[in-house]
């Protein structure tokens, strides 16, 4: 009996899957158009270099830019080690706790943009963090200057 139960678990574990709907595919394409189609490069209001925590590899620059739609965080020339649940935070310190969650990291590589909610007091958040929320592990931090 135990063998059958284990077989069932392993079989299901191997076949677990997800698939996006047409509506989600369209929404993602609309929300994240190709970088080449974006507006001309904006000057950075603030910028910082990303540093890794132990065991993590990261490179890239963080910029705060003003777009017509509002302030954005730009990760430029960016790459980071893979993680299961990486988030981008604006943070009051170099560790999470008092932070503003800007959403899921869109990709482990490449230039990407994150909208900062309107009304955010940018001076209160002098750090940008890449943080694995699921396992509460900080991957990277940048001090904005």
């Amino acid at each position: 009996m135990k063998i059958y139960i284990w077989f069932f678990c392993v079989a299901i574990g191997l076949t677990a899957c997800t698939k996006e709907s047409g509506a989600l595919k369209t929404a993602l394409q609309n929300n994240n158009p190709p970088v080449t189609a974006r507006l001309p490069v904006q000057p950075a209001l603030k910028r910082g270099v990303l540093y890794p925590t132990a065991g993590i590899q990261v490179m890239g620059v963080v910029k705060i830019i003003q777009q017509p739609s509002g302030l954005q965080v730009q990760l430029d020339s960016f790459s980071v080690s893979a993680g299961p649940d990486l988030k981008v935070y604006l943070s009051q310190a170099a560790t999470p706790g008092n932070h503003l969650n800007l959403g899921n990291l869109q990709s482990n590589t490449g230039t990407q943009y994150y909208t900062i909610p309107a009304g955010t007091n940018l001076s209160a958040y002098p750090f940008v963090l890449i943080h694995c929320q699921q396992y509460n592990h900080l991957f990277s931090y940048a001090s904005l200057q």
Binding site: T18, S21, A23, L24, H99, N101, N104, L105, P117, Q134
Partner: protein, 304 residues
């Protein structure tokens, strides 16, 4: 258990259909798992295997299908050990998710009271197979798409007769909260009313089921119309985008469901059961994704 006649069956069936028709678009049957755990011994066999296929209608065009496999063993005359594993398929506006849900392991102990009546006591655990943070293309999904609540729960219950009524009471208590859901409404790519459940924390539930079991003269057919009340003992909470915990207003309170179970015994070893359920009193907010407007399940049991 009472012997039924055709008139009783027709009246009870009509009542259920009326409730179901009026409330099919209501929301609520908020079963965190313990609704489907039998509090009484299902069969007299020493070993039993049961498979159950269920269809559930959730919020915002989501539909769910679950397959569960249970194994129970009679350890002694009074003690029985039950195990159940659940596999879920969820389909909705975001897409489809197919994964393992939870595993349940419970012990049931029967005691005879001084009046000679049997009381069945149950204790067990629910263990999650994931942390309730399944994603589609890196998009965080609402709780309704998650195949597990992501909590390690303690389940305690009792079943006893009160006159002609079958009474069941139980409590499901989240002991370890490992839910790592990261759905944030403001950041969702699709419009909808699913509330934010980022790092969701769930409160306990209590269950009270009152049934009026009937059986045919030959005992081939059994019929158990019942009312199922689930009370959520507090407001659930989540972590907002500023990293601060917020309670979800309206997430505590009562859900009341009508449930109809029809059983057919094929022979001494095998039986079938059909179960239909729909809610008619619901909580104002149901962030846990356990909202069901309709549940139908078919199960097959084999004993040896």
């Amino acid at each position: 258990m009472q012997v039924f006649n055709k008139k009783q069956i027709i009246i009870l069936s009509l009542l259920f259909v009326i409730v179901a028709n009026n409330q099919l678009f209501a929301q609520g049957c908020s079963d965190a798992g313990f609704c489907t755990i039998p509090l009484r011994p299902a069969a007299a066999s020493k070993n039993n295997i049961q498979t159950e296929l269920a269809y559930l209608r959730g919020e915002e065009n989501t539909s769910l299908a679950t397959l569960s496999v249970s194994y129970s063993r009679q350890i002694s005359k009074k003690l029985q050990w039950d195990n159940k594993i659940v596999l879920a398929y969820v389909n909705g506006n975001y897409g489809t998710v197919f994964n393992l849900g939870d595993i349940y392991s419970t012990l049931r102990y029967g005691i005879k009271t001084s009046s000679g009546k049997m009381v069945h006591l149950l204790g067990g655990v629910k263990l999650p197979f994931n942390q309730s943070n399944l994603k589609i293309r890196n998009v965080s999904l609402p709780m309704v798409y998650q195949t597990s609540l992501g909590t390690y729960d303690l389940i305690l219950g009792a079943a006893f007769d009160a006159g002609k009524l079958d009474m069941n009471v139980a409590v499901q208590l989240p002991v370890v909260q490992q839910n790592r859901n990261s759905f944030i409404m403001e950041q969702a790519p699709l419009p909808g009313t699913f509330p934010t459940t980022n790092l969701f924390r769930r409160k306990a539930d209590v269950l009270w089921r009152v049934g009026y079991p009937l059986k045919s003269k030959t005992a081939k057919w059994s019929f158990n119309p019942n009312l199922l009340a689930i009370y959520h003992l507090g407001e659930d909470s989540y972590e907002n985008i500023f990293g601060k915990r917020e309670n979800i207003k309206g997430s505590s309170g009562l859900t009341l469901n009508a449930n109809l179970q029809i059983g057919y015994r094929l022979n001494q070893q095998q039986s079938l059961q059909l179960s239909l359920a729909t809610p008619f009193v619901v909580r104002d907010t149901r962030p846990d994704g356990l909202t069901r407007s309709f549940v139908a399940s078919v199960s097959y049991q084999f004993g040896w």
